[in-house]
Amino acid sequence: MSYVMKSILALKLKQYYGTLRASSSARVSTIITYLLIMFSAAGAATLMRSLYGIAGIGDLPRIITTVTFIFSALFIFETYLGMKGGITALKSEVDFILPSPIKPSTYLIADLIFQLIFLNVMLTPAISIFIATLLYPDEQYLFTFLIVYEISILMATIIAHGLGVLGVRGYRRVAKVSGWILIAFMLIPIILNMLNIRVKPIATLHPSEILARLAVGAQEALDLPLLTIWLAAVLGLYLQALRIKVFSDVNPLLTTGFMEPSSRWTKLPYLKLDFSKSSLHLYLIKFHLVRICRDGSLGASALFLAIFIIANMSLSKVAWSSLRPELALTILTALYIPLIPALLTINWNVVERVNLWSSASSSNGLRNYLDGMLSSYIIVSASFAMVFYGLMNMMIGENPFMILDLLLALTTSIASTTISMLMALRSGKPATALSHLALLYAAIPMAGSIILDLPLLIIRGLETLATSPPPWLLASLTAYPLSLLLILRRRILSASESFAYALGNSI
């Protein structure tokens, strides 16, 4: 590794992980974050084992299906980042390093190494725990899994870089189309599994399936040669990418990972924000809806949710003949919906927090602003929850409009939105879109909303009560999310004053 490359890599690492050096509390909170994430991963795997009836390596087809989904998800995530730019430059790098006379290939290789470190630090602990729990009592396969997983991370990062380089060479449209084709390709095994169709050539040739079989020691004769061909293909692509001569138009991807660049906003001319109409609260709800549409947060949430829906329909197909699929779906709704407000809040932290001087210096400005934000996020989360839940139930032929489930969707939306917002209001500094703190932004609302959902989940689990609840129970359960909203809304509004003071330190 050349001296320049080492220096760039060191700078990237210092920029990204530099806060850990600032104080012992930063280090302690990182350790707590990891512990929480690892517990969540173990919990999710345990839940999968019980819901889908997976019991170690003995259930090879289900294990292979699950591992295939993990690899596909990894490829989709990196392809998505590739479409957004692929190269993880922070703003200071865009301003100071890229205009300096370094070879683009030197920068690209330094960035590739950084991305490998970054993805490993971010994902590997949680994925290792998840797989180990899923494989129990056959954890000896974890080592093989990790080797194959590293190969998949390398391939995925190279794909992201390839798409990113296409973009900076001026072929942004080609990069975008190629990205969508790749995402569709990576979804094929999941969709086929959902539809219960087995297409032999796909199972044989698809990289996620090959990697999954190799990861759990169930390889077929052609798997290793085919993987070598895939690996050679992406390495060939990377060698082409390294021949780039000039960088231009590189995005600060690590902070804007889940957003659209501002040039796209003009393409939404039908979204208008008229200040002269409606009450202040309605106006602010619309303001926030326009904001999340224009900055791409809503689109990113819809994309993530679509992938979760497809993955879940597919996984449910694996097991629903033997278990209670409608209960599995209810729990999954409660688990996944918190990701929507979490993602919206992460993006809000990046895009909007710095703009709040205007609200914070107005009388009751911040209170009104946060109140509007709370309502708009609940509307978005609840709408997504209803669609998610409705679609999944229709797929398995259940009643998609059961009152208890609608109440559960509403409660989950209220709980997760308020918890996400409270986290953002109480944190001194914003989390970037792709940081370990961002994982906490997803994990805590998820855990918190599950706890607050418990009354509904317990009753939902009792089949007789759930199908025909007595009127008093129904009334209590209807009052529950509304009371929750009243209590948590008060907490958010009362946090607005101290948040204004916190803003002064960070903007």
Partner: protein, 241 residues
């Protein structure tokens, strides 16, 4: 005359770093007050404490007689412009000014002509449907300055308002500030541009390393240290320390 803004014994630290120490100042109606000092003197900290973006460690800030830490109502009197303001890039110029009007409780029927008037004043009318993200730094500064005047504030708190503005823009800001002051209001202008402050401000407070080193009307400050300009006065005062 009654003070519109009074700061008494203000202290503020960031952890171990003392940013403002025992600062007092007073601004009466009809007065343009310059808060002056070099980079890192603590000017922005004072401004943020006044507008409610920072909680003072000690001291008292009274806006029109209202203690700022006890009620938010004083904020409706204030027009604020931060140093290097971040603006919502996803809004158009007109949408942003409309948004500020709404959160500043300006009635929609009054907001419309006011926004048109301000866009006209700051030459923004032709850009009203442009996204703020597509504007240059100077044009963004014009938008931000315009937003400080939307609700016809009585007290202006402007932190480095002339940064990034062309001469025409600077002239417009000065005339808008003068208009507010002539209507019985007051202005606090934080800047490190001493020559501009000398010409534009009635009274000044000069800060250095978090402390007030002198205050009063511009002429008396110069006389006190036997200087021909504020710049010279500042250098003499700093060298004495």
């Amino acid at each position: 005359m009654e003070s519109l803004l009074r700061v008494r014994g203000l202290w503020k630290s960031y952890g171990e770093t003392l940013a403002v120490a025992d600062l007092s100042l007073s601004i009466r109606a009809g007065e343009i007050h310059g808060l002056l000092g070099p980079n890192g003197a603590g000017k922005t900290t004072v401004v943020k404490c006044i507008v409610g973006l920072l909680r003072p460690d000690r001291g008292e800030i009274l806006v029109n007689g209202v203690e700022t830490t006890t009620s938010e109502s004083y904020k409706s009197l204030i027009g604020y412009l931060p140093e290097d303001p971040a603006l919502p890039e996803y809004l158009t110029v007109e949408e942003f000014l409309g948004y500020i009007a709404r959160i500043r409780s300006v009635k929609p029927q009054e907001a419309k002509p006011r926004i048109s008037e301000l866009m006209e004043t700051f030459n923004l009318t032709r850009l009203k449907h442009e996204f703020i993200g597509s504007l240059s730094k100077g044009l963004r500064q014009r938008v931000a300055v315009a937003s400080a005047f939307i609700h016809k504030p009585k007290i202006l708190i402007l932190d480095e308002p002339f940064l990034g503005l062309d001469p025409e823009g600077q002239l417009k800001v000065k005339s808008m500030v003068k208009q507010v002051v002539e209507d019985g209001g007051a202005a606090l202008i934080s800047t490190h541009m001493l020559d501009m402050a000398e010409r534009f401000c009635d009274t000044v407070t000069i800060m250095y390393r978090g402390r007030k080193i002198i205050g009063g009307d511009v002429r008396s400050v110069k006389q006190l240290v036997d200087a021909n300009s504020l710049e010279e006065a500042f250098i003499k005062l700093v060298n004495r320390r």
